[in-house]
Amino acid sequence: MRKPADPVRRGLDVFVDAAPQPQRSGLRLLIALERRPRGRRLLGRTHAIDQLANGLVAMGHYEDPVNAVPLGWDADAIAARGRALRREEGRL
């Protein structure tokens, strides 16, 4: 049986899937390279590409509550507080 994808990878996959082609394929390639030491070295030769790849993978990393909560950001608490306030005040 296939293991379920971890939440970090899932979030990044959803984001990449929403991109139009041919960007989508390009982003997948960048992410794959960024996750490998040799790929990272290759990307490091071009500043803009290096930052894009690094930023993409980092975005997935810090979307994960395990990494975001210690930095003071609890997305689930923010969303829950919002829902409670909307219910309480009858907001749309």
Partner: protein
Amino acid sequence: MTGARSHGRGRAARVRAIHADVCVIGAGAGGAVTAAELAEGGMRVVVLEQGPRHDADRFSARPLEMLARLYRDGGQTTTLGTPPILLPLGRGLGGTTLVNSGTCFRTPPAVLERWRDEFGLEALADEAALKPCFERVEQALSISEVTPELAGRNAAIARRGAEALGWSHGFLRRNAKGCIGSGVCAFGCPTSAKQHVGITYVPRAEAAGAQVIAGADVRHVLVERGQARGVEARLASGGRLEVRARIVVVACGTIHTPLLLARSGLGRESGQLGHNLALHPATGAFALMDEVVDMAKGVPQSFYVDEFAAEGIMFEGVAGPPSYVAASLPLSGRRHADAMAEYRRLAMFGLMVSDGSRGSVRALAGRPVIRYELAEADVARFRRGLARIDELFRAAGAREVYLPLPHGVEPHRARARDLKLMAFHPLGTARADAGPQHGVVDGDLQLHGVRGVHVADGSVVPSSLGVNPQLTIMALATRLAFGLLGQDVPQTYEEIACPS
């Protein structure tokens, strides 16, 4: 509405037809406002929105997930040119007002003057005539200035720097009511405090009897003998829809309106359709402070510095959760990881340029291709702006400043390809001009040479504004709606909502 009906057999049986007075295409800043005002004025209105109806209960405060859900192309629409620029556009009821920062400026008087002088738009640019339009929108959206407490510490740092330097600054006016500073305006406001048109004007339109259909992709505007006849759309739920109406208001936004008009064979006579694309290219800089900032606690865009506005350089607040910052930090590798470890002490501020560059949009295989080359004068604005933002952060006591440039490149040596840009506020691709040889629509926002087809979005705005455009678009839509109703714009919302 005279009700829906199906006609024909087989494939044709899946064509649904609706009759209305007005068909509005798009439920963003322009379309929603036009639809609500017309419906409340007694017209039978159908609104067709390509995107979905969003449920605030599903707003998760997670940027990646919300980018995919609330933005066209997952927020990854990009211009072709040097440098490539990300151009985020909202999708669904509310359009880009759903995901913008909520900042509201009236059209600057100098811009209105330019519309009069350069484009012959005396009536459209009449400041006194626009005043009740602005007031009406401001009241409907509960626009007010952000308080220092709600603005948070990120804004306090920029304010400290601006005060130390003696630069002109202030707190921004926003369309928010009961905001608690969740810090995710751009990723779906979880408290529904932001008064985007999806929760303000769209419900008003529906309450007044308008039929709002989400997931309707309009393929053509129908015109017969120079008069609007309606539109044809494909429905996400399957089948096709025809709306028969003698007034069609196109409000698909600056990128998609020219595409719809072009494939309908409309608006091409002047040669201006899809051209004159103005943007506000922008970037963000970071500073490492000694104090805890927690930038995402508070209103991300709450404070501005307009000391250099006359040069086309505007600074506005920007901030976000760790994942957003991780994608924006102009660092990589170990330096990126080290800076992110200090996220709580990072401050961020944005730089926006009122561009002189002009781009274009056209369709390729049904998708927009956006071309935009950053002109040298705009690159020079970024050089000056980046140097100023560095100065601002250092005056505020920054320990280190991270500018969005390659390592070792000083602001004064930056080239276009060195800049890491996003852009907001696309305008001008179906611009208004009194002369049919120079513009796509006239001063009443009606297509030159076609009766009954109007445009009500950023595409008609003929020049860069230098400030956030949503209020301008909504005021112009208000003016259009009352023009179609043949009425003066009431001074206040109550005059219509509670007639005496």
